[in-house]
């Protein structure tokens, strides 16, 4: 029984981690030919962060530098680069901080693993606490606590609850 619950926890954990860590990248269509529209540029810029400002996505950053970076994306698109290549180019130039979420590798695993782990641990603690609370009073309940409300009189219940506040 214990063994099974452990397997269950491991499966849930793997599921949660995968959910959190799914590569959060959607590939924008790259313009293979012709003029590149602003929307194509923004689709990529949206998933990059301004390399010099704090927490400003590249597509909405108003600085001169960001304008030039968007122009760079346009050029690369015109040259036939894919969205993934352009992103990689920015990462190579300015580091991981230009990505909206840390890439899933090395130390960064922690950001994806820790919250689900803690939530899971919290869930287990909560479940145990609820179970512990519940079991010992099963007998006592009937004797001490008020009888279960099988009265249909809704207003009486409301009035009772209001009185108890």
């Amino acid at each position: 029984m214990k063994h099974r619950s452990r397997i269950f926890i491991i499966i849930v954990l793997i599921g949660l981690v995968q959910f959190f860590a799914l590569p959060m990248i959607t590939l924008a269509q790259s313009g293979s030919s012709g003029t590149i529209t602003d929307d194509q540029v923004n689709a990529i810029a949206k998933e990059l962060y301004c390399p010099v400002c704090e927490n400003v996505p590249l597509d909405v950053c108003g600085t001169q530098a960001c304008e030039q970076w968007r122009e760079l994306i346009r050029q690369k698109l015109a040259e036939g680069w894919s969205a993934a290549q352009i992103k990689q180019y920015f990462v190579d130039q300015y580091g991981d901080r230009v990505l909206a979420t840390p890439p899933v590798r090395g130390f960064n695993w922690l950001i994806y693993v820790l919250p689900p782990l803690m939530i899971l641990a919290g869930g287990i603690i909560l479940y145990r606490a609820l179970k512990n609370w519940k079991t010992p009073v099963a007998v006592e309940t009937n004797a001490v606590e008020t009888p279960p409300p099988n009265k249909e009189d809704y207003l009486t219940r409301i009035e009772e609850e209001l009185k108890k506040r």
Partner: protein
């Protein structure tokens, strides 16, 4: 002179605050009432002294005393009077002073109001409040002094100091740098004080909790005393968050209201634990359970408040270097760590006295569902806290800077928020103590069926995304349960007492404001949920460069660029204002004026959207760029934001509900007043 008065008042307040702490502890331990009274007077004295200090700073700001560094950094001659006054919280040093002043005001109000009733708690409430005030005063006086002046030594060396360094003369600047243009918005003027008032007011329930732990009065008395304070704190914090969102939407020019920025998250975190606390204290009041948990929640809330205050203005988590270089960072972290450890030790000391008086009898009872609600709120907190802290850790350990942006938070918190909505739907119908699948099912099936109309309608309108349909169902579910539960009680009361429906509605709400105020808050959340679903799932955008008379299409909308005017204003801005006509399905529906303001002083541009707003959607047009008039080309970015106004409407309903819940009861009057009234009525009869 004025700066000296302000600074002097601060120093005297610090001495008095320290004295107050010592007197309260001594008086309380030795049971010497006059020492406690003296501590109370010290507490009360901090308020006029801090008021004097705040007034001094406002005078300096309004007069434009630019030799004071803070004044020069947040004001300039051309700013209007109201902005000069509100520049009080426009920078870190002023914000800290404002925070401390508000803290002193709240703590003084508590001591004045509750003095006779809660004499055993109050010495310790004074201690906790004064310790908090002392910490902030220390920061203001020794690290972030808003009254410090600039001095020039020799030809070039400029020093910042309160008193003149040897051989230096006052450095008089002709004008200040002015308030950050982003902060010159009505939303931003009210948003920070609301947030700070929310932060500060949460210190009160924490102070009572600590007082309960120290005195050993660990029953639910501290919760009953602070119930309204907690609601007031929550009201201000919610208002602060909402105004912040509105400000972002109006000013930041990215078409959204929430960007999961560390500063935003730092204000959300105490709100999360505060909301969990508001729910779980009800379990302690009704069932005498979860006493440890409530203590832990309010301790967490307090430390998150301090953490939030620190993050809001410092921008310190942006890098390890910024953190290491600032003196304020380690001090804040030290204080947070110390208060957390001391509070936890007190909690552990009283652990056995805080045992539950009752047991959980059903996993579907309201208390069990409330506990689950707490679990989800804390889950969101874990995600937020870890997301904020992680970039700093990453840089510290690997040397690599990373960004934790919206995709992380959205993915991680969306299921938790959905879970909360679901609980919001079932918990109001679950009974305290006993609830089984049968009883709950019996109560739920009618509203559950009605709620299916939500996704059905959405599907008819062409929504096929499963997540959106689930969202619409959850929203409809909470709405129908809430209305059903309230409606049922109203009708039952109207029948049994032969009252008109409206009267029954009113009387019932008056009987238990917290309960029915809570339902109104839930309805507010439902409306906000609609707006959030609309924005998160159906927002579309496009950008294009067009000439005058040309058009851009987005969904059913077409915009036409008509003209542009470029001019200077008297307050130091260069404004480029475009006129754009909007057509919906080919029909002209109005014009908007997206703007780009360039502030000469701070050399900062600001993009103000032109928005056509209806309950169905917003068309949000930004002027991104424009070419000289000769070529008459301009670049526009257009966002189509469906349902976004339900978010703001929901916010208003939410605040109204909180006001209903927090409004003072008639029963709240002291017993003797009630008795007097009763006697009066009797004698008249």
């Amino acid at each position: 002179m004025v700066a000296n008065i302000g600074y002097g008042a601060l120093c005297i307040t610090l001495v008095i605050a320290v004295y107050g702490i010592v007197a309260a502890v001594y008086g309380s331990r030795r049971k010497l009432p006059y020492w406690v009274d003296s501590a109370r007077n010290a507490m009360l004295l901090t308020f006029p002294l801090l008021t004097l200090s705040v007034i001094s700073l406002v005078v300096l700001l309004v007069n434009g005393n630019f030799e004071v560094d803070y004044v020069a950094s947040v004001t300039s001659k051309s700013m209007p009077l109201y902005l000069k006054i509100t520049a009080l919280w426009g920078g870190q040093a002023g914000s800290l002073l404002f925070w401390t002043w508000a803290m002193s005001a709240f703590a003084s109000a508590v001591t004045l109001r509750n003095w006779d009733r809660d004499r055993e708690f109050l010495p310790w409430v004074i201690v906790v409040s004064l310790v908090t005030i002392t910490f902030f005063l220390g920061l203001i006086i020794f690290v972030e002094n808003p009254f410090a002046r600039l001095w020039i030594l020799g030809e070039t060396v400029i020093l910042k100091s309160m008193f003149p360094p040897v051989g230096s003369v006052l450095f008089l600047q002709p004008d200040g740098r002015g308030l950050n243009p982003l902060l010159r918005h009505p939303g931003m003027i009210i948003h920070p004080p609301m947030l700070y008032l929310g932060f500060v007011a949460f210190v009160i329930p924490y102070a009572f909790a600590i007082a309960a732990l120290i005195t050993g009065r660990t029953d639910d008395r501290w919760i009953r005393i602070t119930r309204r304070w907690t609601l007031v704190a929550w009201l201000f914090l919610s208002l602060g968050l909402l105004l912040g969102g509105r400000w972002a939407y109006d000013v930041l020019g990215w078409g959204g209201y929430w960007g999961w920025d560390p500063v935003e998250i730092s204000a959300l975190m105490p709100w999360l634990t505060g909301t969990a606390f508001l729910h779980s204290v009800m379990i302690q009041e009704k069932r005498g359970m979860l006493k440890h948990w409530n203590m832990l929640l309010i301790i967490l809330t307090y430390d998150l408040v301090i953490f939030g205050t620190f993050l809001t203005r410092s921008g310190i988590l942006s890098s390890v270097h910024a953190f290491a270089q600032s003196a304020i960072g380690p001090l804040f972290f030290g204080f947070i760590g110390l208060t957390f450890v001391v509070s936890l030790s007190l909690l552990l000391h009283r652990w056995n006295e805080l045992k539950s008086e009752a047991h959980m009898t059903s996993l579907l009872s309201r208390e069990a569902l409330f506990l689950l609600n707490n679990f989800l709120f804390l889950g969101i907190l874990v995600v937020c806290f870890w997301g904020v802290i992680f970039p700093l850790l990453s840089e510290l350990i690997t040397g690599q800077k990373v960004t934790v942006g919206p995709p992380f938070y959205q993915r991680a918190t969306a299921p938790l928020f959905a879970g909360l909505l679901f609980l919001m739907g079932i918990a109001p119908l679950a009974a305290w103590r006993h609830s089984t699948v049968q009883t709950l099912g019996k109560a739920l099936w009618k509203p559950a069926i009605v709620s299916l109309l939500g996704p059905l309608l959405a599907a008819i309108f062409g929504v096929h995304d499963w997540a959106a349909l689930l969202g619409f169902w959850l929203v409809a579910f909470v709405a129908s349960v809430t209305i059903y539960e309230y409606g049922r009680a109203v009708i039952a009361r109207a029948h049994s007492r032969s009252e008109p429906i409206w009267r029954a509605f009113w009387e019932l709400a008056g009987r238990n404001r917290r309960r029915y105020g809570g339902y109104i808050i839930h309805l507010g959340v439902v409306l906000m949920g609609l707006g959030i679903i609309g924005m998160e799932m159906f927002q579309t955008e496009t950008q294009g460069t067009i000439g005058q008379g040309q058009e851009i299409k987005l969904d059913q909308y077409t915009i036409r660029y008509d003209s542009i005017a470029i001019f200077d204003t008297s307050d130091g801005r260069n404004v480029a204002r475009a006129v754009v006509s909007i057509y919906k399905d080919g029909q002209y529906v109005g014009e908007v004026h997206p703007r780009r303001d360039y502030y000469y002083e701070s050399q900062q541009p600001m993009t103000i959207p032109g928005v056509r707003s209806t309950m169905e959607d917003d068309l949000y047009v930004l002027l991104v760029d424009w070419k000289p008039v000769s070529s008459s080309m301009a670049t526009f970015k257009i966002y189509h934001n469906p349902l976004v106004n339900w978010l703001w409407l929901g916010g208003l309903v939410f605040i109204f509900g909180t006001l209903v819940a927090a409004w003072p009861d008639r029963e709240g009057q002291p017993e003797r007043v009630k008795k007097k009234k009763e006697n009066l009525v009797r004698s008249n009869a």
